[in-house]
């Protein structure tokens, strides 16, 4: 997976509302890309829900979250409403998994992303990255706060 110190790989993806979000839009702030396998799989649900609970505090520390999976913008829209979450979900849908692959967290065998967190700094360099040892192990919100504290 992408290592701290690297330049963040470029991307331009559609969010749940069809708005394009590109790497350049993240300049000047701290961003955490939350790669997760698929919308509507029950484990992911808890992951994004718990991040939502601490979102105000992440934002107070200057960090903004984006979820990323291979699902389409339409599925993301439904999933976002289903979860009641407020942060954007980016569709790495076509070509499928291209951005996830650039960040080194695509699971070719299964055809979806691995569970991973990538923190991108204001200068668009990778500050921190974390990949779950298994899809069942969900990276705790505490890890994001640890990474923010270490900056």
């Amino acid at each position: 997976m992408i290592a701290p110190g690297s330049e963040a790989p470029d991307f331009a993806l559609s969010d749940q509302d069809g708005q394009q979000v590109s790497l350049a839009d993240l300049r000047g702030k701290t961003t955490v890309l939350v790669f997760y396998p698929l919308d509507f799989s029950p484990v992911c649900t808890d992951q994004l829900n718990v991040y939502q609970e601490v979102l105000p505090e992440l934002e107070a520390q200057g960090a903004f979250l984006y979820g990323v999976s291979v699902d389409s913008a339409f599925a993301h829209k439904a999933f976002q409403e289903h979860l009641g979450i407020g942060f954007p979900l980016l569709a790495d849908f076509h070509p499928k998994g291209q951005v996830t692959t650039r960040y080194g967290v695509y699971n070719d065998e299964r055809g979806h992303g691995q569970r991973a967190l990538v923190m991108i700094g204001p200068e668009l360099d990778v500050k921190w990255s974390h990949r779950s040892p298994s899809p069942l192990e969900i990276p705790g919100a505490n890890l994001i706060f640890d990474a923010l504290e270490a900056q």
């Binding site: 718990v50 009641g84 505490n142």
Partner: protein, 165 residues
């Protein structure tokens, strides 16, 4: 100002933790509106364990979770935490305010005091303290049990139940 949310182990038992039973220590982070927690409760309450309950309300998923956590804390101020806990876990289909009042009546909880306490700062802080300690310990799903300090997310499996029995 709140304490930070960076990593820390689940805190050891505190004097004001909700505790029942005797045996090996099991610290549970749970959400009173979560059906998996209700299922886990059916197993946990029959095990010979020293069980500590801590709140982990996930409101984006369970809209009444925080209200119920606050209600349980208000009941705790009248010595009825586990009574209301069990009442809610046994029937998660009736969670609106009138249902809470009916439960209070059944359990002998003073309603005026309950209504005041569940909106109080002290009760809100108590729930928040539990939730934040869970986040710091890496809790990401409910229920999560800590046994010998090791997190066991999800419903307790057969191996764990056998070990605790």
């Amino acid at each position: 100002m709140h304490s930070k949310l960076s990593s820390a182990g689940a805190p050891p038992p505190a004097e004001d933790d909700h505790l029942r039973g005797d045996g090996p220590l099991v610290v549970e982070y749970a959400d009173l509106e979560c059906p998996y927690c209700a299922r886990a409760n059916l197993v946990l309450r029959d095990l010979p364990i020293r069980r500590i309950f801590r709140h982990f309300p996930v409101v984006s998923k369970h809209p009444r979770a925080r209200v119920l956590a606050l209600a349980a804390e208000a009941a705790a101020l009248q010595g009825r935490f586990w009574e209301l806990h069990d009442s809610l876990m046994d029937d998660q289909g009736h969670l609106e305010d009138p249902h809470l009042w009916a439960r209070c009546e059944t359990l002998g909880i003073d309603l005026d005091r309950f209504e005041h306490d569940r909106r109080s700062q002290v009760v809100a802080e108590r729930v928040e303290r539990d939730f934040r300690s869970g986040v710091r310990a890496g809790v990401m799903t409910t229920p999560t049990l800590f046994v010998d300090g090791v997190a066991r997310p999800g419903l307790p499996g057969e191996d764990l139940i056998a070990r605790l029995r």
